[in-house]
């Protein structure tokens, strides 16, 4: 332990000679004088002292070029990207504007210039100027640094300067009236041990951080917290139209109707207006002859038909000759020759002077009326079984 310490001690090198000043004016003059002789020197002040660049003889910082070059390059790249999207990849008319909508792009280009310019400026300062990720500096943890970050103004003449000579630098500082003049040593082994960007360990570490952070985020957000956000029940486990479906062999969610059938309510009735025989041929009464259907048929018949056809369908109109009386519904034609669909056709489209009742009666009501007429007919000509 003690041996290695001793060894390190021996290898220590002079980094700089430092001196401290009391007022910003003093440090200004000191910097001006130091600038006459040295190039590698620095000034440390507790707060920014305006005019210091001039006093130190620093030229204009080149960092502005980084900002403007990166900013304008990214602006042009962005312009190319937006143009590619809106002219080539997915041309779409937005708000009636031309595809190449330059005024609309300008806010985006402006933002991207500022963002990339600013971020790159900071990164470049970090990486190049501050030598990030180097995390040590010979001035760290020195009494000099403690003082100049508090209430004094420090001048630090670095040994790396070609005109440097320890005794001379001390003499200059003394001549300028510096206080606490002190040399600062550093250990090059230790300094080099500090992390550098080119250090493979650091690069692997960075890559590891990227993998771990993105992996953990992915796992946390997509695996652990698999809670779909509330989506107003837009997503449900049901079959929706126009999608794939695994249950059916053809993979469609929407199945074709069985060959040769028509779904209920989808009969193309409108095509039969001029052709009652065809309707009679293709249609059948879909309703069962049940109590409710007869009740519905009676109600509709009595309110809609009985005024002309009479309560029992015998053509005994109550209109007292104001309207031509209709024929009886008990004729051989209607009873025996016409099927239900043929009567349905009369109700739906009318016949000669009888008006159509499609508007007043629904399809089911019409079929129910047909059932009721059949019942009326049978009541005049009952079967043996009906009388029991």
């Amino acid at each position: 332990m003690s041996k290695s310490q001793k060894m390190n001690k021996n290898e220590e090198q002079l980094f700089a000679v430092t001196g401290q000043f009391e007022t910003p004016d003093d440090i200004m003059h000191a910097a001006e004088k130091a600038a006459c002789r040295y190039r590698k020197f620095d000034v440390h002040t507790p707060y920014p002292v305006h005019g210091m660049d001039g006093a130190m003889g620093l030229g204009e910082s080149p960092i502005g070029w980084v900002t403007i070059l990166v900013g304008s390059t990214c602006m042009l790249l962005m312009l190319g990207f937006i143009s590619w999207i809106s002219l080539i990849d997915y041309p779409i008319v937005w708000a009636g504007k031309p595809y190449f909508n330059l005024p609309g792009y300008i806010p985006i280009l402006f933002e991207i210039t500022i963002l990339t310019g600013a971020v790159t400026t900071v990164l470049v300062l970090f990486l190049i100027v501050s030598g990030f990720p180097r995390n040590n500096h010979p001035l760290h943890d020195t009494p000099y640094m403690q003082r100049v970050s508090d209430d004094r103004f420090g001048l630090c003449i670095e040994a790396a300067d070609e005109n440097f000579n320890e005794a001379e630098a001390r003499a200059l500082l003394e001549e300028m009236g510096a206080k606490d003049i002190a040399p600062i040593y550093f250990n090059p082994v230790e300094a080099d041990a500090g992390l550098r960007l080119s250090n493979p360990i650091f690069m692997v570490f960075l890559a590891g951080v990227v993998v771990v952070v993105s992996g953990a985020s992915y796992f946390a957000l997509n695996r652990m917290l698999e809670l779909p956000p509330f989506n107003w029940m837009n997503v449900q486990d049901k079959t929706v139209p126009q999608t794939l479906h695994t249950v059916f062999a053809d993979g469609r969610s929407m199945q074709k109707p069985v060959e040769g059938t028509v779904p209920r309510g989808y009969l193309p009735e409108d095509n039969y207006k001029e052709d009652p025989d065809a309707m009679a041929k293709y249609f059948a009464n879909p309703l069962p002859a049940s109590q409710e259907v007869f009740e519905l048929g009676r109600e509709k018949y009595e309110s809609r038909c009985s005024a002309c056809h009479g309560f029992y369908g015998e053509g005994d109109s109550r209109l007292q000759g104001q309207y031509p009386a209709p024929p009886t519904l008990h004729s051989k034609k209607v009873v025996d020759e016409w099927n239900d669909a043929r009567i349905y056709h009369v109700i739906t489209y009318g016949q000669n002077i009888m008006p159509a009742y499609a508007k007043q009666l629904t399809k089911d009501e019409r079929w129910a009326v047909v059932h009721y007429i059949r019942a009326l007919q049978r009541s005049l000509n009952p079967k043996e079984s009906d009388l029991q």
């Binding site: 001039g54 204009e60 708000a95 504007k97």
Partner: protein
């Protein structure tokens, strides 16, 4: 910071006689040309007199704004050159004079005064605000307020030269706090009255800000020219350095960028929304060859100053700063031309942009007047606020 090296040695010197001669020559030439232009084309001269008035009004009031913002923000860099700002803002004293030609020709230039307005439903609805008596009342109130504040600010500032009384600074700070919102509202109202109401169907809420920024840049340009010429010839004592020029250039740069920001947002939003009550204003500045003027305005008022003023070496170079100041003065006149003259073309049934003697006359009058006024102002005033408590810090200002 240092008390020794930055102490100002100020000694009042009279400006050379040639300043007054040049000023008067420009002014008189301008007036003669103005009369000639009026004889040849009265309507054009009437419209150009709006440009002249708004140009001077904007410069006067924004120069006073610079004075007040310095007090309010506690800025030090501008303290040694504040007298120049104050002298520039003395323009407001003469504004009633320049408003007179506009007031006399109101009926010819403002559509809301024309007989057609009586049958136009939009203008009937706007009539409670846009009518001649109320217009004149507003004008009188606005100019009155500006003159009042000018007198108060400069009286305190000049008194301080003798008394060195620091409480005068405190008084001007309080005054600034009142002045700034009042100025914001009044310059907006003035720009609406004189510029926006030229096309009374149209409206834009950012218009006042845009006019304010354009005027501020022009005022800073005049101030910069004056400061550089005075300082380089030793009229401002010793102590004003290139860091001060830099700050003026920096303010001009910021003004230009903000002017563009407001002008662009106004244009882009109207273009995007594409509403029939908003777009005609831009169509009048795009059709019939006006698009050339519109694009040139963008280049003159934004692109060139952006690249010229972004560089530190230009902002600290006296010759280049003077060049850029002249450029920006032109840019502001060009901006006002762009706002006013399409209406003239429309009324006079001229197709496309045109330029006449009147515009030249207005430019000569404006510049000649400012030179003469400035020369008069320097006669019996210190060019540096020698009694200001912030003066030393202002001289020590470094970047």
């Amino acid at each position: 910071m240092s008390t020794a090296s930055h102490t100002m040695v100020y000694e009042k010197k009279a400006l050379p006689a040639k300043v007054a001669t040049t000023g008067w020559a420009l002014l008189i030439l301008g007036l003669l040309l103005g009369v000639a232009a009026f004889m040849m084309d009265a309507l054009r001269m009437q419209f150009v007199s709006i440009i002249l008035f708004t140009f001077l009004a904007g410069i006067g009031i924004t120069a006073l704004f610079m004075v007040s913002i310095e007090y309010l923000a506690g800025a030090v860099w501008s303290t040694p050159i504040r007298r120049v700002f104050e002298m520039m803002s003395s323009i407001v004293l003469f504004l009633p004079l320049f408003a007179l030609p506009v007031v006399l020709s109101m009926g010819n230039v403002f559509e809301w005064m024309s007989p057609k307005a009586a049958t136009d439903q939009v203008l009937i609805n706007k009539a409670p605000y846009l009518n001649q008596p109320f217009f004149l009342v507003r004008l009188a109130v606005i100019l009155g307020i500006w003159i009042l504040f000018y007198v108060l600010f400069t009286k305190n500032s000049r008194k301080q030269d003798e008394t060195r009384d620091q409480s005068l600074t405190a008084r001007n700070i309080k005054l600034s706090a009142i002045f700034i919102p009042v100025m914001g509202l009044s310059i907006t109202a003035l720009s609406i009255d004189f510029l926006m109401s030229l096309e009374p169907h149209w409206f834009s809420t950012i218009f006042g800000v845009n006019f304010f920024m354009g005027s501020l840049v022009a005022a800073l340009s005049f101030i910069t020219i004056a400061v550089i010429l005075l300082n380089e010839n030793g009229y401002l004592g010793k102590g004003i350095v290139r860091d001060h020029y830099y700050s003026l250039g920096f303010a001009m740069f910021a003004g230009c960028v903000f002017w563009t920001y407001t002008a662009f947002s106004q244009g882009m939003l109207i273009w995007y929304a594409n509403m029939p009550e908003e777009t005609p204003w831009y169509l009048h500045r795009w059709e019939d060859g006006w698009n050339v003027i519109t694009i040139s305005l963008l280049v003159v008022h934004f692109i060139v100053p952006l690249f010229a003023l972004i560089q530190r070496k230009n902002k600290t170079n006296p010759a280049r700063m003077i060049f850029m100041s002249c450029w920006l003065i032109f840019a502001h006149m060009f901006d006002l031309y762009w706002i006013v003259m399409p209406v003239h073309s429309h009324v006079a049934k001229i197709h496309g942009p045109s330029i006449g003697l009147a515009e030249l006359a207005a430019a000569l009058i404006a510049i000649g007047f400012i030179v003469v006024l400035f020369q008069q102002q320097t006669k019996n005033k210190n060019l540096v606020p020698v009694g200001d408590p912030k003066l030393q810090r202002g001289l020590a200002f470094r970047l």
